[in-house]
């Protein structure tokens, strides 16, 4: 015994300590009143809610510090609702804590495992019923049922096929073609080189054939950003330089990473930044990615002017715009 380790023993549940309200009737009475007051406050809250709903005009605003301009009715309705619910809760908890029995009780747990007998009997029953159905003997039924059940799920999957058309070449094309005029968005007017000062940025959309209405789907592919730099700021090869016009360069505005609008242009550094994931493109170097998760430059649109001096596309985009997809052939960028 002597060299055996002696351990601390579980002293058992500590003795119950009575609360003030358990022994002092006055304290119990006070607790009762507290609970009642809390419930009454809830009722007041409901009245406040009803009055604000009926009496307060819904277009009245006032200025609150931190929160700014606030709709009076919404605020009062909310505060009424807060009071009417919060005080019920606080009242109930106060009641439980002060007046309801607070002696902890012990309940026994039971192991979840079934008795051996029951488990054995279950296996027996299972085998017996299975045998009765002929599961073991009639393998033909078993196999064909397996086949049927394996296939039955295909029908609902197949029925989902018509949730949308096939993409076909959709992701590869835009509405830009040779000679398409650049229209200012949202004005919808054609634009001349002289309309853009050096350092200016404009969003343009392609002029659609007469009678075609512009949709959000068009915009999601066609949006183009025009930026005018001093021609000497460009650092482009001869071909890409020929795609610009008097220092105006055009890029797809749809981020090659995840399709957000690349809308932040930093005039000083000539960087375009996508606000979604901060991919950064260098305008002077044909929108080369200089930072962030985007893996490809923004596609450049070749532009020139038509006979009337309006800016037009020289040719369609040479690569698909927007984020990547499996069928995209990225060998030319």
């Amino acid at each position: 015994m002597s060299n055996q380790v002696e351990r601390f023993q579980d002293p058992g549940l500590p003795e119950h300590v009575h609360r003030n309200a358990d022994v002092d009737p006055k304290a119990a009475k006070r607790a009762e009143q507290q609970v009642a007051i809390l419930f009454l406050l809830s009722a007041v809250g409901t009245v406040l809610t009803i009055v604000s709903y009926i009496k307060v005009p819904k277009d009245k605003f006032f200025y609150l510090p931190i929160m700014g301009s606030t709709n009076v009715q919404q605020l009062l309705l909310g505060l009424g609702l807060t009071a009417s619910t919060l005080f019920i809760g606080l009242g109930a908890i106060q009641w439980a804590k002060k007046l309801m029995p607070d002696q902890e009780v012990i309940a026994e747990r039971h192991e979840f495992r079934s008795e051996e007998v029951d488990r054995a009997e279950l296996v027996e029953t299972f085998k017996e019923r299975g045998a009765a159905a002929g599961l073991g003997r009639r393998s033909l039924i078993k196999r064909t049922l397996g086949l049927a059940l394996g296939l039955v799920g295909l029908s609902p999957l197949l029925l989902l096929r018509d949730t949308g058309p096939q993409p076909k070449k959709y992701f590869n094309t835009t509405d830009w073609a040779a000679g398409t005029r650049l229209l200012l968005d949202p004005a919808g007017t054609p634009i001349k080189a002289s309309d853009l000062e050096v350092g200016a940025v404009a969003q343009v959309l392609p002029e659609l054939p007469a009678g075609t209405e512009r949709t959000l789907e068009n915009t999601g592919k066609d949006a183009v950003l025009l930026i005018r730099l001093r021609p000497e700021d460009f650092n482009l090869d001869a071909e890409r330089l020929s795609w610009t016009h008097e220092g105006i360069i055009a890029f797809s505005k749809i981020c090659t990473h995840m399709g957000c609008a690349v809308a932040l242009y930093e005039q000083q550094t000539h960087h375009l930044l996508c606000p979604c994931h901060q991919s950064t493109f260098d305008v002077t170097r044909a929108a080369k990615v200089i930072f962030g998760p985007a893996a490809r430059p923004l596609p450049q649109l070749a532009i020139t002017v038509d006979a009337n001096g309006y800016l037009v596309a020289k040719q369609p985009f040479t690569v698909p715009v927007g984020p990547s997809f499996w069928e995209r052939n990225s060998s030319n960028g």
């Binding site: 579980d10 009715q73 909310g78 009242g91 096939q166 901060q278 990615v289």
Partner: protein, 526 residues
């Protein structure tokens, strides 16, 4: 007998004769629930879910889930005459022309944030106390499912108003679909009923948001609670608490009053937030159009970590054989979250494999007494926090005058370095806390009272701990509480070696003091 008693008796009789409920109710009305503040976290999840159902139903009476184009002519003048979808238009109508509409929208959004926060807090509680151990693995899996569906449900919910911010979120979701190899373009076209944005997506996610997922939530929550009820709640160790009993307050009346009251408290707090704290002011963002965006685009917090991962991804794409694979989307958007969530779901089984412990556990661990598990949990939290911070890198950059590039590079490196450091530090802290417990049991509590002995020596009086406290601090290392060592047969081969190594790491503990230790120190010790 009073009339009220008679009526109650007659009703009870009527119901019981048709259902036999009396026996079940008699037993369950006195069911015992242990009391601890951390057990309320799961309750907050349940209550905010109920609030979401109530406020959400209200919102559907006015919300029009349609992408049909309309011209706005409601009472919010800055958007007068603007073309927008019926979804956005009806959300504006709810916010400005329905009494209490904005309040309900805001309560709904706040309740969703609370729902997700409470799920995560509840997950932490369950993880760090080891409550997921046998027999509660099913409930752990259901919980991981609820968290996953909760993230999806929240994302769909804030996507419904079709404002510029949420439309941008949908655009990103579309890009993730599109990036899936082989079938991506098809999945995108099927999901959107054609090209993005189309007119099918809002009606489709609406039915998922208000019927499919809530139905799934209801089913999973019901099973979750039935299992809690049937398996009885876990409890923290302490005097009188054993693996074989459950100590606490009976359902009726104490728990009914406390839990019922707590529902109203959660409702009241959410209503207060909805009343005073503006959230998702969609009228400021404008209607969605793919050509525009607002700076500082941010998802809700439970999506923020994913966004942060995507932002930190290096620009990797594979271009070969006429095909493109976007690793910069697949890795942060699908692969890493997949690994994290699978690992989380499997953790109870992995831990039980490492320890070889197949016994039932109803007494919770104090986190310090499971240093490896605690360190692993902190590692995961630190990883997610870094990604979450990176999800707001633009906001952090403008507020703290840092460069986005600097933050992004910090994130890219920190994601690999900081979590392992967090693991080591947490494990050390756990072991130090165990040492502190040991000191406390052996030397008692410092009282701060200085006494000068006749010899002139100054000592601080230490007060011995109560028997209850001594038991609480040492019970986890009693021989019957510790798992048996792995059998030699389990440690053969590579898999066995890994198992043995992990088992050793997992078993590192500061020996808890025993009564013998205390006696050995003798009385002369202060």
């Amino acid at each position: 007998m009073k009339t009220s008693q008679k009526v109650a008796g007659a009703t009870a009789n009527y119901v019981d004769e048709r259902t036999g409920a009396a026996k079940w109710l008699k037993k369950n009305l006195t069911k015992v629930f242990p009391d601890h503040w951390s057990f309320m976290l799961g309750e907050i999840c349940l209550y905010s879910f109920i609030i979401l159902l109530l406020t959400g139903t209200f919102l559907t009476f006015w919300f029009d889930p349609s992408q049909r184009e309309v011209v706005y002519n409601g009472s919010y003048l800055p958007l007068s005459g603007v073309h927008m979808s019926a979804a956005y238009d009806s959300t504006l109508h709810l916010s400005f022309d329905v009494r209490g509409g904005l309040l309900m929208r805001q309560i709904h959004h706040w309740a969703a944030l609370i729902f997700m926060s409470a799920i995560v807090a509840h997950l932490f509680r369950v993880f760090f106390t080891g409550a997921f151990r046998k027999p509660r693995e099913f409930n752990w899996l259901i919980g991981v499912g609820l968290l996953t569906f909760g993230i999806v449900e929240g994302f769909l919910g804030y996507s419904l108003p079709d404002d510029l911010l949420s439309g941008t979120g949908i655009r990103i979701a579309e890009a993730i679909l599109q990036a899936i190899p082989v079938v991506g373009s098809y999945l995108s076209f099927f999901a959107f009923g054609g090209p993005f944005p189309g007119t099918s997506f809002i009606p489709r996610i609406f039915i998922v948001h208000v019927l499919l997922l809530p139905g799934l939530f209801l089913a999973l929550i019901t099973i979750h609670l039935m299992l809690v009820w049937y398996q009885k709640h876990t409890q923290y160790p302490g005097p009188g608490r054993t693996e074989k009993n459950v100590v606490g307050y009976p359902l009726m009346p104490v728990y009914m009053a406390k839990a019922g009251g707590f529902f109203f408290v959660v409702l009241g707090v959410t209503a207060f937030l909805g009343a005073v704290a503006s959230i998702n002011p969609i009228w400021l963002y404008g209607p969605y159009t793919p050509g525009q965006i607002s700076a500082g685009s941010q998802p809700d917090w439970y999506m923020g970590w994913l966004d942060g991962l995507v932002r930190a991804a290096p620009p990797l794409e594979t271009h070969a054989f006429g095909h493109t694979i976007s690793w910069n989307i697949l890795i942060p958007g699908l692969i890493i979250p997949g690994i994290l969530f699978t690992g989380m779901a499997l953790y109870p089984f992995i831990e039980s494999w490492i320890t070889g412990d197949k016994r039932e556990h109803h007494l919770l661990d104090r986190p310090r007494n499971a240093p490896n598990r605690t360190a692993l949990g902190v590692t995961a939290i630190v990883f997610i926090l870094i990604t979450l911070a990176n999800g707001g890198n633009d906001i952090i950059a403008t507020h703290f005058h840092l460069t986005i590039n600097g933050i992004m590079w910090f994130t890219r490196i920190a994601l690999f370095i900081v979590p392992p450091i967090a693991f080591v530090i947490t494990k050390r802290i756990c072991l130090s806390l165990q040492r502190a417990d040991r000191d406390l049991v052996l030397h008692g509590r410092e009282t701060g009272r200085l006494v000068m002995l006749p010899s002139g020596e100054m000592i601080e009086v230490h007060e011995p701990l109560s028997d209850a406290k001594k038991w609480t601090l040492t019970q986890h290392q009693n021989p019957d509480a510790l798992p048996a060592p792995l059998p030699a047969s389990a440690t053969v081969g590579l898999k066995g070696k890994i198992r043995a190594r992990l088992n050793r790491a997992n078993a590192v503990q500061i020996p808890a003091p025993t009564l013998s230790d205390l006696k050995e120190l003798g009385d002369g010790h202060h």
